[in-house]
Subunit: 539 residues, 2 copies
């Protein structure tokens, strides 16, 4: 049996385009004499549609019947939303020559982190195996394979759909997924699938969605792993792809994927940025350049995602801006081939101060005066956005967003927060990676001490611990769910740890008004992390 | 048996204060010779703590053991978070004289609208009845009683905890809740409990949380309904209360609650505003006054919530501002006894236009120029906020927010959106209600045609249908989940309906960056309505 893995990038609710992508890959599979072509989870709707699932028109718009009736000469597996009685199921269908041959329903419905599947779907009962072209196929959906006691040492769910199908006689496992990327998950996933293949001595075909949908990035990286645990077919990461695998010869097409964290994250952010801008119906982006590393990296990513002609930068110096930032941003813009507008903000700052009560003044350098400058800049960027039909990309990193070192309605203004899930230390690492062959981000930008430049001689490290230490504490608390005591045991001063964690809680209000940020770690700010604002911190 | 219903307003994670409120009401119950005092769901932590539940320190901080060990001479029922093995349960405990006598676990865990309970909790298995002071008590938690086939005509969940307890011999039902308010829910809830009382011929004691937590408002309105369906004890709505009921005499204390929608919504918004500001650690609020009805109503609510000395208003006229707005806002401020600062924005507007590229100019009246004015105002309000340690309250209503008739980082700036779940028609109704005894909101504000005043002679109805029609369509689509066809059948032009629904989808990006808004309808924007931004609308 020759199988095609069809890794497409659907847009949520864009049924026509999704269908045409599906048909294109079906035809490609037929041309290559495949017996079966496999698409990802909920490929008809795109994943995740979230509460649009509550609209019956949305469910009814899926072109499943049209596909079933019009495709002949090949078996097709694809994911869709099944409406049955009052309930929805996250289902997969195998159809061929106008007939629906089999249907599997997702049994394990995740509700952690970014997932809300029990909000929408009923879990399926146990599924049957499929006798197809001499094989006994076991068809599962995403989470269904993430519950192996031997691999994880514990279980979230009682059912084990993989084991059930094996016990029913499956000799070939298929999993269709829409599994959001985060750093480290790819390796874990491969190990898990390899472990399942070897444990049950069956090959595994895994077809994953690719593309960005709001803050989630799907990496594709569809794969076939044989019963010995070898990767025998591999689709590209972070782009659409089509590969084949032949069960008789155990031979498949292997495309390269990244094995370097910096490259992986960079690909993820480029894809996430491109898809967000394009799927929102835009082509162009606006970025405020400060002369610092965050806006430099964001611009470099935007240029890769959208093309240099679609990226416009704005440099907005004030009295507190170091003169080298002019040189550095000019050089950056030149290196990237993007326009740089200059809009000094001092006259607007003065005008605000003149019109506000006497409590406000330049020499005050208080929080109000500092934020005012950031908000003038944010307002300028939004003026460009409105005038030139371009989305503003924000430039804040995760370390800042965690402790609130950012101005709401100022530098937080924008449609997408490109690097808001990158700790500052990762911002440096990715920037150096971008420069590996030639200097794209001027070295002076990488080397200068980070500063908000909202008052004289201000440096981030006046208010914050060094980012190397801050990022370790933040990861321990946010991503690794360590307790305060455990973090202190890692070698940090208790008052420092308490101060940082209190800042995290205190700044929840800012994050709840932040634009969607591209998720690249196991726990990003955004809808995967749901905190109250009005509460007493646990400290 | 004499029972006390203890309706307190807990703050999430403020264990010390919650405990002291609990102890105070326990003592009050003892003084009144009660046998049993009943508190609401998760009263130790406050509801909903959301992802803070993932922190073990939070779970461990609950003062349950301290309460159990220190309270003597009375039975106490209270809700808490039970940690057992790897799982959490939303549980209720009955303790007396140092002993835990009984524990019930919540069986039905809602995951619709604002609820995420399956994200955190495991459902409990069937619960036992409690033999206590000659009664057989059936103890349930919130959602457990919302699944009666006879009353609703359908079931969300398979289990029916009420029926189970009755079958086990319960002769007295207790439900502890943290049930968020929305208009119409109170009446539905009373009917449902009355129906259960009558169906099973048992009395029902219902103790509900009171208070605001971010966008959710809990109305209290705890009640005892006897087996004939009569209300025999009633606690106040929207404030803390303590009432008693005697099973022997079937007599209880009845406090008045509102039966008028306008009064109910007003009480809800006042409580929600007060609690948000105070629970965030603030006392003061800033509101931008335009001369329109939205900002007038918001200010009136803020004054009721915080006191006139804690409310400061800012009037920010431009060239496009009608002169009567000066008179009207002055009168409003006088009527309410609040300060009114005047900060004209024209000089700042001019300064921006001078510093921006030539594409920007005053005579353009384009979206960029219009939004620029709103953002200057938003920046001024935030400057006041930062300088005077006061939260900005935003003034946008639900109709505007639905169709995007508002400026992100402009009039949407603020910590809390007080009336963002009020359709414009309801804004008028509440405003007239506030004026019922004397003119608080000047009649001219109520009568003038709504306008954003961002360009000459602009009126809302240039861009939008009349609010009377718009609000019907919005409610049908957002709250009542009607299809496009169904709305057209209600008598609206199809192109109008499509245009409005497309606007709803297109403006999702603004709402995702909006501040929390107080929920008063069955479907508010916010985390109870989760939509993707980058997607193709279903139209």
């Amino acid at each position: 049996m020759k199988i095609a893995l069809a890794q497409i990038n659907p847009t949520i609710g864009f049924f026509e385009q999704n269908q045409s992508k599906i048909l294109k890959m079906i035809n490609q599979a037929k041309k290559q004499a495949c017996d079966l072509v496999i698409f990802s989870e909920m490929v008809l709707t795109g994943y995740p549609p979230r509460d649009v699932l509550e609209k019956q028109e949305f469910i009814d718009s899926q072109p499943l019947m049209s596909l079933i009736q019009n495709v002949h000469g090949i078996g097709v597996i694809c994911g869709y939303v099944e409406s049955s009685g009052d309930h929805l199921f996250n289902s997969a269908v195998l159809f061929e020559n106008g007939q629906m041959i089999h249907k599997s329903r997702k049994q394990l419905l995740p509700v952690y982190d970014v997932f809300d599947e029990q909000r929408y779907f009923q879990p399926g009962d146990t599924n049957d195996i499929i006798a197809y072209k001499g094989h006994q196929l076991g068809l599962t959906i995403c989470e269904d394979i993430w519950n192996d006691m031997d691999f994880f040492g514990k279980r979230i769910y009682q059912a084990d759909p993989v084991k059930e199908l094996i016990q029913k006689g499956a000799d070939f496992m298929i999993n269709i997924s829409a599994s959001p990327f985060h750093l480290g998950k790819g390796v874990l996933k491969m190990k898990m699938i390899q472990s399942l293949s070897q444990k049950y001595a069956v090959p595994f075909v895994y077809v994953n969605q690719v593309g960005g949908n709001d803050s989630l990035i799907f990496d594709g990286s569809s794969v076939v792993i044989d019963q010995a645990g070898n990767i025998v077919a591999q689709a590209r990461d972070f782009e659409e792809d089509f590969i084949t695998y032949d069960t008789k010869t155990n031979q498949g097409v292997c495309h390269p994927i990244s094995d370097c964290d910096e490259e992986t994250v960079l690909k993820a952010l480029v894809l996430g940025t491109r898809d967000y801008v394009h799927k929102c119906g835009f082509q162009k982006a606006i970025i405020g350049l400060s002369g610092g590393i965050d806006s430099a990296l964001t611009t470099a990513i935007a240029v890769k995602a959208l093309g240099k002609r679609n990226v416009r930068t704005v440099y907005m110096p004030s009295l507190y801006t170091s003169s080298e930032n002019d040189i550095d941003t000019k050089q950056l813009a030149e290196n990237l081939g993007v326009d740089r507008e200059i809009v000094p903000i001092d006259m607007m700052f003065d005008q605000f101060l003149q019109n506000l009560p006497n409590d406000f003044n330049r020499d005050n350098h208080g929080l109000a005066e500092q934020n005012l400058q950031a908000r003038i800049r944010g307002t300028i960027l939004m003026a460009f956005s409105n005038k030139y039909n371009a989305l503003v990309l924000t430039t804040g990193n995760k370390s800042e967003l965690a402790v609130g070192y950012c101005t709401l309605y100022g530098d937080m203004n924008g449609a997408l927060a490109v690097i808001s899930d990158l700790p500052k230390t990762m911002v440096y690492a990715i920037s150096r990676y971008i420069n590996k062959d030639q200097e794209i981000i001027p070295q002076s930008i990488i080397e200068k001490a980070p500063s908000a430049e909202l008052k004289p001689d201000q440096k981030d490290q006046d208010d914050l611990p060094e980012y190397e230490r801050l990022d370790i504490i933040l990861k321990a608390y946010i991503e690794d769910h360590k307790s305060i005591d455990q973090i202190v045991e890692m070698g940090f001063n208790q008052s420092l740890v308490l101060d940082i964690i209190q800042r995290i809680y205190r700044n929840e209000y800012k994050r709840q008004q932040a634009p969607p940020g591209l998720k690249v770690t196991s726990k990003a700010f955004g809808y995967g992390r749901r905190y109250p604002i009005a509460h007493q911190s646990i400290l």
